[in-house]
Amino acid sequence: MGRKIGAGLALAAIVFAGLALVTRVQAQSEAWAVVFARANQLYEGGRYEEAAAKYEEIVASGLRNGRVYYNLGNAYFKQGKLGLAILNYERAQRLMPRDEDIKANLAYARSQIVDKIETPDPGLLGHWLASLQGLLTIDETLVLAWALYLIMAVLALLAVFVWRWRRFCLYALGFLGLLLILSLASLGVKLYQQEHIREAVVTAGQVDVFSGPGENYLLEFTVHEGTTLTVEEERGDWWRVCLWGDLEGWTQKAGLQEVQSHG
């Protein structure tokens, strides 16, 4: 009997340690919260440039928070800097993917840009998968997978020790295992996107895209402020970029800013 209690305690300790790990409070900076509030005041007073500078200060400190990026995006939007606004909304969305305000403002800002966005229609299933995929951040998916994993471990222990529940536990294990595989697959896709798909937003008024890394090459097309491009390759001061999967060429880094530059 005592042994069972011991095992239970050990298990509880593991679960608790896991939760503590997940909710580990990291680098809570009350000082930055004060700066944030001050920037908000400036914004509300209509001093968007100063507000943006304050928000940028927080960003420069290395602290990443969706609210900061969102408010920074707003401050840029109010100054008419569409490219920077979209860049910061994009960054905010990576951190807070379910936030309705970010979604609305990003869509609104995108509706104001010069270039018409022509994304290929992903179809009903593709659309559904994409929205499901965009529901959780990498960390949230990881925690979900971890929770499933823990529950599976508990079920496995039960299956070993309690003969009567073995059948049920095995079925439940199969089901949870399926969910675990799905969430791990989703996690894999997300990690791939995070690590290998680089996106950049045009922050200059317009940038020219050439057929090679240099201005002596043929000018292929021009994109305007606020358009998001995919970065394929880097060579010196030049990026090979891709627009909506079909147009591609080389452009100078200066007119663009990478969304994941802090990642």
């Binding site: 919260a33 908000n40 928070n65 951190l95 609305a104 960390d139 971890w146 994993y149 471990a153």
Partner: protein, 614 residues
């Protein structure tokens, strides 16, 4: 809440079930009850006083008929009564009688409750000559009513019977089918029709035998090239074909050819599913020659309506103020495929803003002709005051019966618009509610400052501690599996269990011996030490401990690869124990301590031997 029983009106109302009503209007109940009772009395007075007015008549559809034909006899009772019993027919010689049901109508006109019940019979003549249908009788309220007798003549062959109107059966079934128990046929009322003109298709099922519990399933014919409309209701009557009486069921359908040329109506079929067998009866396909509408004399504004139509137009009000919506309606009614009547050309009125028109269609199939009305409504919002005249609408249609184009025209309509209140926002059509107007659009506002600005950029997946935690559960589970397996083996395998527990048991014995040593019981001490040794070896060897002798133990030790020193030690310890147990004087404490230590050491050294191997 149940109203208290006692007061009569309340109880009465309770009984007729308006309790809920009473709850809310109890003050008014008294007057309501009074009015209600008076009304009921008012209704009863004429019923009581007009009791005597009853008529009972007999009628036939014809007075001369042939043997092949049949006679419909109808007995009608009319008057103020609530229930009507079945009348008694006179003996009818020379006829076979079939009842074909009753049809009744009750009405309450000016407080007079009146009923009209018709009893229908089919009389099939069996002999030639003149027959008299005697008086039928009916008893109502204790009084007997009688009908007048009717004279009927039955002639040989086809009598001079007039062909029955439209509804009646067409001139006889195909002769080759006559005589069968069941057959079907399909006919059209005309072989030639204009495009858009109604052709009535009739399917008939002739039933010469009773079909008990059979399931009948009618499949409509293939009608490509036609727009169709079902024409209910089904019609049933009796008909004699080649001397045999059939129950005929008719199903009709209106066909409107959609294109000129020879159009074919495919076979219709009837599936008869009996208890044991089924059969399918199918008709022959039919053709209809669809004629194109004459090009000659076709008006320019003709838009395809075929039939006979009238047109009317009206406004929902003849006076309105600026910005008050006015509905202009245009109705086309008549016989023909009303659904196909196109939207009229609406008058263009500059200072009236118009909205999308909507059309509603009601069709009926009375007398098996498709007819109905189609109403178009258009909403106008006057923007300026003034006097307006809405010009007449014209509907040009083709009348297939006359073979000519005709025009239906409406009256011009006058509309007066008064200058209204200062112009507000235009009223949206259909509803009075106003949509929330989006005056300006902006981005959503910034987010408020949280008390603590958390760093969301920390990556959990980059924390090695977190990743290491994934290894823990499998280790735990593997441990659990091993532990469980071990426990099971100990429970089931006695030899293994003894082998594994031998050391532990021996140590316990030695600990017991230590206690005995302290309590100065040297004999018990030596006994316990000896038992520790034999018990241990017996467990390891999986043999009973009782009666295990020194020689056996020593031999076993040698066999398991123990060195001479260990065997000697066994001898020494054993002899010491024997001495201690049987010596008359108590042993020295130091010797006991030494022995204990030696035995312990001895057992530990034995643990290294290969006991598991046999």
């Amino acid at each position: 809440m149940i109203p208290p029983k006692g007061s009569t009106p309340r109880a009465y109302l309770d009984r007729i079930g308006i309790v809920g009503f009473m709850k809310h209007y109890s003050r008014w109940i008294g007057s309501f009850v009074a009015i209600g009772l008076l009304t009921v009395l008012w209704l009863l007075v004429p019923v009581v006083y007009a009791q005597e007015d009853v008529s009972f008549t007999a009628s036939v559809d014809k007075t001369t008929l042939s043997l092949d034909d049949q006679l419909a006899l109808t007995l009608t009772v009319e008057g103020q009564m609530r229930s009507v019993p079945e009348p008694t027919l006179p003996p009818l010689e020379g006829f076979q009688v079939y009842s074909s049901g009753r049809s009744q109508q009750f009405s309450l006109i000016n407080g007079q409750f009146s009923a009209s019940v018709a009893f229908n019979y089919i009389l099939q003549p069996t002999t030639l000559g003149e027959h008299t249908i005697g008086s039928a009788e009916i008893a109502l309220d204790g009084q007997i009513y009688r009908t007048q007798p009717i004279e009927v003549e039955v002639l040989e062959g086809r009598g001079p019977t007039p062909t029955p109107p439209e509804q009646g059966p067409a001139a006889g079934a195909p002769p080759q089918l006559a005589g069968q128990d069941l057959f079907v046929e399909a006919v059209v009322d005309k072989d030639e029709a204009y495009v858009g003109e109604q052709v009535t298709y009739t399917f008939r099922f002739y039933q010469g035998v009773e079909l008990f519990g059979a399931d009948l399933r009618y499949s409509k014919p293939e009608t490509t090239g036609f727009w169709t409309e079902d024409l209910p209701p089904q019609n049933q009557y009796y008909q004699v074909v080649a001397g045999r009486r059939y129950l005929v069921t008719e199903v009709k359908m209106g066909l409107f050819p959609t294109a000129a040329g020879t159009q074919t109506v495919g076979p219709a079929s009837l599936r008869i599913e009996g208890f044991f067998s089924g059969q399918t009866l199918a008709t022959d396909p039919l053709t209809v020659q669809a004629m194109p509408l004459p090009q000659e004399g076709q008006p320019a504004d003709f838009s395809g309506a075929v039939g006979q139509y009238q047109a009317t137009a009206w406004l929902d009000k003849s006076e309105a103020t600026v910005n008050e919506p006015v509905t202009l309606s245009f109705k086309v009614s008549g016989s023909g495929n009303v659904q196909a009547v196109p939207e009229p050309a609406w008058p263009e009125l500059e200072s009236l803003r118009s909205y999308e028109a909507k059309g509603t269609t009601h069709t009926s199939t009375e007398n098996y002709r498709v007819q109905g009305e189609k109403t178009f409504e258009k909403l106008f919002i006057p923007r300026e005051s003034g006097q307006y005249t809405i010009p007449p609408f014209q509907l040009t249609y083709f009348d297939p019966e006359a073979g000519a184009y005709r025009t239906a025209e409406t009256e011009p309509l006058a509309l007066v618009i008064r200058p209204g209140a200062p112009e507000g926002p235009p009223v949206s059509p259909g509803d009075q509610q106003q949509a929330v107007a989006l005056v300006g659009r902006d981005i959503r506002h910034i987010k408020a400052a949280p008390p603590v600005l958390r760093d969301q950029g920390q990556r959990l997946y980059q924390s090695s501690l977190f990743l290491a935690s994934w290894a823990l559960p499998p280790l735990l589970v593997i441990g659990a599996v091993l532990y469980q397996r071990q426990r099971q083996r100990l429970r089931q395998d006695v030899r293994y269990a003894r082998l594994r527990r031998a050391h532990k048991v021996a140590r316990k014995r030695l600990a017991g011996a230590k206690k005995l040593m302290k309590s100065q019981d040297s004999k018990a001490f030596y006994g316990e030490v000896a038992r520790a040794i034999t018990g241990y070896l017996a467990d390891k060897m999986n043999v009973p401990a009782a009666g295990l002798r020194l020689e056996e133990m020593a031999r076993e030790l040698e066999r398991r690869g123990a060195d001479q020193q260990t065997v000697n030690r066994l001898h020494r310890c054993w002899e010491e124990c024997d001495l201690g147990r049987f010596a008359p004087v108590a042993g020295a404490p130091e010797a006991m301590v030494n022995l204990l230590a030696e035995v312990e050491e001895f057992i530990v050294s034995l643990e290294g031997l290969k006991w598991a191997a046999k």
